[in-house]
Symmetry: C2
DNA sequence: CACCATTGAGTTGTGCACAACTTAATCGTG
DNA sequence: CACGATTAAGTTGTGCACAACTCAATGGTG
């Protein structure tokens, strides 16, 4: 492990790192900005949109399952879901089978919102200026990266 | 613009979008986690590390200049710099030439911290599991992406 | 079956991101 | 030179991320 790459001095690597971590940070925030604009009409934030997409695709689910798909813990999800609930988009119900578990389900308004969300992805795709193939390549690279980073902890 | 890609239906695109935005979000957070571990010894958060790197590389600078390099505004930087100051790593001084401007400079402790930071990038690079060339390609792609996204707003 | 470890959700506290705003200094134009 | 526009920094308020914690329900083992 930690192939030490003796050719590259530490100081050089510090500068390279500056670029890389900054690039990713900046890209993530730039994406956030574009989503913010695109989602303003829907009244959703970007993380809220992620949660809604999980529900649109897979239907009612316990908080735990949503958290696993988005790699978010209850500390992030609980208040977020509470906001979605008070916006009238989801309902939360204690499971009868396991009283520890809370199932999140879409309300009528929540389900309807999917229609308004349909044009969002095309708008985002256009904003990236990338071809679909490049997007897929980026996605594959990021997936590999995330897996490696998660494993390294 | 907005090549509409009539071959891909909206619903499909919504799922693709799910993947892409999630990938980037997840990668960004995974990076954050690895940095959190690597920076714990230094007592720095990831954004604080970005600011320190700017100062290590380019020396004393006004808040404005730091913000431009990191694409962060004063709402984010002011409290962050205040924390760095109370940690004894930087000093803030009103510029004599322009009283609106505040120059941020490293303290002795702040400058010394660079030595402790030197091994960090190698650790991060190792955690990514990527080759230097792949990193550079990713960086280029992300740079292009960020530029396009910023311009689309 | 009794007890204790584990699990799922929620809470608390810290820090970042960003919009909207305030304040004070500076600049530019009439 | 005076005054309105602009600029730099800071403040306020909202929301997300995450660590550390609480609490109640569940499950496994002696």
């Amino acid at each position: 492990m930690t192939s030490s790459l003796p050719a590259v001095p530490d100081a050089e690597l510090l500068r390279l790192d500056h670029q890389v971590c900054f690039s990713l940070h900046a890209a993530s925030r730039a994406f956030g900005g574009v989503y913010r604009d695109a989602l303003k009409d829907l009244g959703l934030t970007y993380p809220q949109y992620l949660v809604m997409m999980v529900l649109w695709e897979h239907g009612s689910q316990p908080v735990k399952a949503i958290g696993e798909q988005l790699r978010l813990d209850s500390g992030t999800l609980s208040p977020l879901l509470k906001r979605l609930e008070s916006a009238g988009l989801v309902r939360r119900e204690r499971s009868a089978a396991d009283e520890r578990s809370v199932t999140v389900e879409l309300t009528g308004a929540g389900a309807e919102l999917k229609e308004k969300a349909l044009p969002v992805p095309r708008r985002i795709l256009a904003a990236t200026g990338l071809e679909v193939e490049e997007i897929l390549a980026l996605q594959a690279l990021l997936g590999r990266l995330t897996g490696a980073l998660d494993q390294a902890r």
